[in-house]
Amino acid sequence: MHNSKWLIASLLGLLLLAPVMAADEETYDDEAYTPPENDTEVTLKTGYQDGSTDGNMNLVSEYWVVDANPILGLGWYSAPYDKTQFNFNVESISSRQYKGDVEFDLNRKFQVDAKLIGFIHRLEHDPLANMQGVSDIKVVRATDYDPDTLYGLDYKDTDIHAEFQPPQAGGFTFRAGYRSQERKGTRQQLNSSHCTSCHVTGQGREIDNQIQQGDVGVHWGKGLVDLDYQITNRQYKDNAAGVYGSYEAAQHPGTTLPVFDDRVWFQNTTVPIAVQPEINRTEHKLKARVDLKKGGILNLTGLYADVKNQKQNLAYDFKGFNARYSLKLGDALKLNLWGRYDELQNDNYFVDLLALNGLASAPTETYPGGVVTNYQDWRRGVDGNPNLNFTTYTRLSAMNRTTSRMGADLYWKPGRRSTGLASYEFRLIDRDYVTLGDGTGQSTRHKLKLAWNQRAYRKLRWNNSLTFIKTDNPFVSVDGGRRAFAGYADPPANTTVLGTAPNPKVPASLQYYQLQALRLANLTAMPAQEMRFRSYLTWSPSAAWALNGNVRYRAAENNDLDYSEWSKDSFGVGVNLWVAAGPQFQFTMGIDHDESQTDAMMYIPLMDG
């Protein structure tokens, strides 16, 4: 602690105390304090904080400023006219940690509310100390170029909304909003060399980005019909200086010969890494609600979003349609029918590695016989495929897809203390450019859920749910692992013993792409069958305490793979006790235990294979 700072704070406090003591010599007694009945009330808070720290602050004080700072707060409530209110509150612990809000209400016809919050976020710093190893000729090493820096961000969020109901335009409500999120500071940027894990580096990078969002909307409601439209524009801008990664000369780890010159587009240089996009998103949303009285309630929503990466001039479109129909079937039954259709379309991207690297021709290598050629031409000759093209190609997005969902929920309330639910959901994902295990890009999912909630004498609540999910053709990494060994359809080159260094100068050796071509097993972490069970029991014999218990179980498996099976079983149990011995005393204690077991095929890449 800093005694001088506390002395200054005390003097400051006494100085501020003086006029109050002069104005009100009556000391406060034990009479019940009643707030002033004035139309205006102002509150002021002044104070000071100081702290001492030891060790790593990243978790113990991840979001809190703990060094010496004045504490300042101001509140202002005013209701000068009938049905008019103004409320302002702000509190600050430092210029990096503060919050405030403003509300203004004019007879519910014009309302404005704004919130401002700022805080710090300390970020972790990986010393990379676990990445040092040498085995045979293989070396893994790491360099932290910024070892002593404490990384962290200052976050600032401003959110303003206004709503106006014109008195002469019955049924219309106009609204507008603005939100800004800013992040400034530094964080660690990791990078790896060409040889992926051979040399990992860490360095600090400046963070200075902002998301700005503005929206304008109008709502019209009259009788049984409500319509709502909103247009939203959101922009992400990165103002920070870029960060560069260094790429060493690509050499054979044992002989240090430059045998990879034709397979790397750049080496022994620094290039921009982790380049941030600049995003501009415009969204239109139209909603309609029709109350059909005894015929039910119909909700319809349509959404169109155009998202553009302004740095790369790439865009994607999202279209979404949603319909929901609710109908009461007597006093005990309620039926929901719903459907949803989403479509996502990304621009194709033409990749030209020559242009991206500022080269007139592809890098070359000297092959046996003194032939100097580039890797593409060499592969065309070896594979006998003149159409192989590694220099220019069109990237098609794996995210291009349509997703269709439809479902039905049936609620049953047989008594005052019981509620049941039976729901069914069908989902179809149709991917444009991805093929999965069955040779198509379509995954269909059926989901059935049964739930039962029971109360007993207001003291016991028991909520249970049981869910079954069946997925046909879930996402898999096609031929993601498992090398074909002798007896399978190995190419002749597979006679080479594993461990021979791939080298274009020795065409008979096993090449990385040949090893990859030998993989024949589909791998996944997505289940084809799944069952979930959850049960929550709350016993609250009085308003003073309650005991909660919960059990969670999930069994998921995929036995539809071609060479392996995948499964994951999870189990969790928890007990929580809440006690409120009085309005001044609350107490909570709980324990949770979770465990899971996964059986999966693991495939270890060895030397590019």
């Binding site: 304090y33 102002v42 000071y48 702290g51 602050m57 060994f485 949770d592």
Partner: protein
């Protein structure tokens, strides 16, 4: 997880409050158990072929990779203690005093990439006015 929140009114103008929480987070992978397909060539495994019947605690070696310590990387054992003791005094009708002392402590009993152990002692005090 243990959380408590206690407020005691000495009288109408004096109030003492206490917040405390303690959380123990403990998680870890079990050691990987290796099962190989029948057609894996044995010449790639100089230390023998682990599989059904093999000692599950034996080192899992494949070429130069030793997979046996992988489970140790996932160990998490964090203790988090947060205590705050505060006092509020209404000195005059329109003026009050507040003070609080906090102690936060994190013990990282299984540090791996970054040791999260750290502690904070924090003192706050000041005055409130109502106009």
């Amino acid at each position: 997880m243990f959380v408590t929140d206690l407020t005691y009114h000495i009288n109408q103008s004096n109030e003492i409050y206490f917040n405390g929480s303690y959380a123990l987070t403990d998680a870890a992978f079990n050691q990987l158990v290796n099962v190989f397909a029948d057609d894996v060539p044995t010449e790639f495994f100089p230390d023998g072929l682990p599989g059904p019947g093999a000692d599950p605690n034996s080192p899992l070696r494949f070429s130069d990779y030793d997979l046996s310590p992988i489970n140790q990387y996932s160990n998490i054992e964090l203790e988090q203690l947060r205590l705050t003791l505060g006092y509020r005094l209404q000195i005059f009708k329109n003026m009050g005093f507040f003070a609080a002392v906090s102690y936060w402590d994190v013990e990282d009993n299984q540090p791996y990439i970054e040791n999260y152990s750290g502690e904070v002692k924090l003192l706050q005090g000041g005055f409130n006015w109502n106009f």
